[in-house]
């Protein structure tokens, strides 16, 4: 493939995906639209976790809790007459601040110890959702969360709400792309690969760790704020630890540290169980086996498989070029 074709490949593929995401749902029924919206919403949370875990290398089992905080913020505020945009803004700020604070333990502990700290936070958040009935409605949760209107335009119909979620996902995608392509993205990768060396090169690892947690958590909160009007009901079990594990799986299966990993991972996690429902009670077994087989074959996830393929091709091409250069130098010497 020549350079011109290669340069066209990525934009063409992105254009096809964008067209599919815009036009395909026009043919979907109510359930298809619900699943598609759920994919968009969960992808936002997975993008946040991918920033924290995939790029910056900070293990977090708390992303589900941030989705919950965002969802409850939106549910509480919108049922009290606040506009959804204001609720989203508040959820973002709240989750950013809590995520920043949750980052402090990461300055002292790493890996599985950090996983346990974030797991404890997740459990704590669940207990607040379930027990603080005066605020969260307790085990009953909060129902009849309204879908918003934007500039007098109702987003209650499923198709319109799907487009709203897709629009927010597009904004998040562009913002995240800008972030990972900025010097911050390089600093996050340095943090993940070699924090000691990063620090010796002037990277303030403390600030970047806190920012990785805060931004990732804020995206979790944004996802939750979109989730509440989508489902119309927020209740504690939806934001239990299993959601954090699901989001972790989306990032790992898609490919942690790859930009498109969360998109692919969320698609697998949201759509595959649905596609396998014809297997009735065996679908979860097959689903688990497929995920296990994938991770054994490619620990870097689905995007990692493609990446390995392209790296192999590039290495082969570079080796051929070097061999040709050596041969020409030898012949010149002779």
């Amino acid at each position: 493939m020549n350079a011109k074709a290669r340069n066209l490949l990525v934009p063409s593929a992105l254009a096809i995906v964008a067209l599919f995401l815009i036009f395909a749902p026009l043919t979907f029924h109510r359930y298809g639209l619900y699943i598609s919206s759920q994919w968009a919403v969960m992808t936002i949370a997975a993008i946040g976790l991918n920033l924290t875990l995939g790029y910056a290398g900070q293990v977090s089992l708390a992303q589900g809790a941030f989705v919950g905080i965002g969802a409850y913020s939106a549910a509480i505020l919108t049922t009290h007459g606040w506009p959804l945009i204001a609720a989203i803004a508040l959820a973002l700020v709240l989750c950013f601040a809590i995520g920043w604070l949750l980052g402090y333990p990461a300055l002292r502990v790493q890996h599985h110890y950090l996983a346990f700290v974030t797991l404890a936070f997740s459990t704590l958040a669940f207990l607040v959702f379930r027990n603080e009935s005066w605020l969260t409605g307790g085990t009953e949760g909060i129902d009849s969360v309204p879908r918003p209107s934007l500039f007098g335009f109702s987003l209650a119909p499923h198709l319109r709400y799907y487009y709203f979620c897709l629009f927010v996902l597009a904004l998040v995608t562009l913002a995240t792309l800008g972030l990972v392509r900025s010097p911050w993205g390089r600093a996050f990768i340095a943090l993940r690969e070699n924090p000691i060396r990063a620090m010796s090169l002037g990277v303030d690892t403390r600030r970047y760790i806190l920012m990785a947690f805060a931004i990732g958590s804020a995206l979790g909160g944004l996802s939750g704020a979109l989730y509440a009007p989508l489902v119309g009901l927020v209740e504690p079990p939806a934001f239990a630890l299993t959601l954090s594990f699901d989001l972790l799986m989306m990032v790992i299966v898609g490919g942690a540290g790859y930009f498109i990993g969360p998109f692919v991972g969320a698609m697998i996690a949201v759509l595959l169980p649905d596609w396998l429902r014809f297997l009735d009670r065996y679908y979860l077994i097959l689903y688990a086996l497929l995920v296990m087989a994938l991770l054994i074959y490619s620990p870097t996830g689905l995007v990692g498989v493609a990446d390995r393929f392209f790296i192999r091709r590039r290495t082969k091409a570079a080796s051929t070029a070097r061999a040709a250069l050596s041969a020409s130098m030898e012949s010149e010497g002779a």
């Binding site: 010097p183 390089r186 070699n194 060396r197 010796s200 090169l201 002037g202 990277v203 290495t315």
Partner: protein, 247 residues
């Protein structure tokens, strides 16, 4: 000549073991100081204490007369102090160019400014010059993890120089590097010292490398300074021969 670095009575103990035991020395502007000594004599621990990677048990480190003891490595780096490590420390998944840009990007503007600024933080030209200086031109876009060990050593050293430091501490830069690469590395270090006036402190076991590069040598043994002086004097010192060089 102005004193850049002063180390005064520095001590570092791990439990009952004194890895660095009252070391004092200073480094003058533009000089290349070599630190030699047998394995386990505290050379790398001394570096780590100077550079904030480890907190010293006692003593003081001064940079340009200001106390920097306990300062974080990233803050010291911003004051113009850079280092390499005994074991290779590059970012294997980034390209050679990105490794170099990363090595200096935190010196450009504010953290918020870097978020909204240019991807290369305005360092693409500087990275290109550094790549050419270390003769890595043909590898600029290669992933660093795919380079040979010697090339990675050169990249490691280049990263330490990327931010234009005044003082560079090099921990065994010649370790595991073949003779051709070693000559190239020495040549580059000398050029940096002469052309840009950078000051070096070099830990090294390769005596030929130390003798031909350094203007002064400090010998450590069991965490203490055993000898200090010109390379030829140190080489002829009976105590140094006994403790380290051998007959």
């Amino acid at each position: 000549m102005k004193t850049v670095l002063e180390v005064a009575n520095l001590k570092k103990s791990f439990g009952g073991i004194a890895a660095v035991d009252g070391v004092s020395f200073d480094v003058r502007e533009g000089e290349i100081l070599g630190i030699i000594g047998p394995n386990g004599c505290g050379k790398s621990t001394l570096f780590n204490c100077i550079l904030g990677q480890l907190a010293p048990s006692e003593g003081e480190v001064r940079l340009d007369g200001h106390v920097t003891t306990g300062m974080r490595p990233c803050d010291l780096n911003r004051l113009g102090v850079s280092r390499t490590f005994q074991l290779l420390q590059i970012f294997p998944k980034l390209s050679v160019r990105d490794n170099l840009i990363l090595a200096a990007q935190e010196h450009q503007g504010t953290m918020l400014g870097r978020l909204f600024g240019r991807r290369d933080a305005g360092l693409a030209e500087a990275a290109k010059r550094m790549i050419a200086f270390f003769k890595l031109d043909h590898l600029a876009d290669e992933i660093a993890g795919g380079l040979s060990y010697g090339q990675q050593k050169l990249l490691d050293a280049a990263m330490a120089f990327m931010s234009g430091p005044r003082l560079v501490l090099l921990d065994e830069p010649a370790g595991g590097v073949n003779l051709t690469m070693l000559a190239n590395l020495k040549d580059r270090l000398k050029a940096f010292n002469e052309e840009r006036g950078a000051t070096f402190v070099v830990i090294e076991h390769n005596m030929d490398f130390v003798m031909s590069l350094c203007s002064r040598v400090l010998v450590l043994a069991e965490g203490k300074v055993l000898a200090e002086g010109l390379p030829t004097d140190v080489r002829a010192n009976p105590a140094v021969i006994e403790a380290y060089l051998g007959h």
